[in-house]
Subunit: 217 residues, 2 copies
């Protein structure tokens, strides 16, 4: 399964990123410190996605794959196809990065507990679409981002880590989204590193990362 | 209405605190910088509440008033009585500080938009009882506290300010509650000061406190 294409990197963890849009989190995962994690594959459900061009520039294998006929989820056969492509390439960790589509069937069966997503709010507040707009309308003064494992629900899986940002009086969706995105670019590589370096353990639905009371001032 | 009992303090804002328990937030409101706000009354629905003793020590007028026959809310006549007592004393702002009882009728009519509560989570996550336990069980890595105006719902009113804390691997309800409580003691006086010094304005359900993009590094 291990491609061994990095010489001494035989114990690298092979990571695929699935994305629909710009791909700034894809780039953060390629450029950031992900420990033993190596992004070796980018798959998009959108043939026009700028992230495909970015993958070419970064020298990462990339492809558009059809998601099937639905708008917000995969057809069963398409999800099987995506999963098979990743299996063939020895992918060990799947990172969703702005994939505008719900995963339900074959991918969860094959990669359960090894699929991550990043969401632009402090979950469980504001799951689903337009999280930044919901946070602004609700009137929170702190928001942020959440990296979590994916389960069969929408943004309900166990949380790996969160980072917070202030919400300011004159914020609009654009400015708040940009401020959260900066934290996403820090949080996502951190979470991948913790996973790939086997630093995470699960207790109930809590993900423990080793940070204890004595470690914090 | 203004008692004028502080000499030059003729424009003080007279604050009542309603509490059922220990009263650490009551003490924080008495000792902290609340701007023009002055805590002049403490009312408890629990004749055994340690907060009553603390009020005596701090020289703040205090009383136990019956909440009526229900366990988690006021009887209509009791809520009228509490409201009348506050009206008679010229109370202009009501701060709930661990009041284990829902306010619905006469007090909202009389003091709507001038009742605050503090809640030990980053709302809208984990409203209601046992917020710290819910946060631990859910597995968030950031929690905190929220000061908000009270409306007819449970922990649903417009948010004035929030402060965050990390959740650590070895936290239990006690240690997380203590960490959040430290932030409550900072947040609550701040929120009262913003209100009493007329620094807050409402836009939709957002409470604006004057912090703008240029102010933040």
């Amino acid at each position: 399964m291990m491609a061994g294409d990095r010489g001494a990197g035989g114990d690298d963890v092979r990571v695929a990123v699935l994305a629909s849009g710009r791909g700034s989190n894809f780039e953060a995962l390629c450029r950031g410190d992900t420990g033993r994690g190596r992004v070796v594959l980018l798959v998009s459900d959108n043939p026009e996605a700028p992230v495909l061009k970015r993958a070419l520039e970064l020298g990462v294998e990339s492809m558009y794959l059809s998601p099937g006929k639905y708008r917000t989820r995969f057809s069963e056969s398409a999800e099987e196809n995506w999963t098979g492509i990743m299996r063939d390439r020895g992918i060990q960790l799947v990172c969703l990065a702005g994939l505008m589509r719900i995963i339900k069937g074959p991918m969860i069966s094959e990669y359960g507990g090894r699929i991550m997503n990043i969401h632009p709010s402090l979950l469980p507040s504001f799951p689903g679409l337009d999280a930044q707009e919901k946070a602004l309308s609700y009137g929170v003064t702190i928001s942020g981002c959440t990296v979590h494992y994916v389960d069969a629900g929408v943004d309900t899986g166990p949380i790996i880590l969160q980072r917070s940002v202030p919400v300011l009086d004159d914020d609009d969706v654009r400015s708040l989204s940009d401020r959260i995105l900066e934290q996403e670019h820090i949080a996502y590589p951190q979470a991948v590193k913790l996973h790939c370096d086997h630093r995470l353990s699960i207790s109930g639905r809590r993900v423990l990362s080793g940070l204890k009371r004595g470690d914090v001032p």
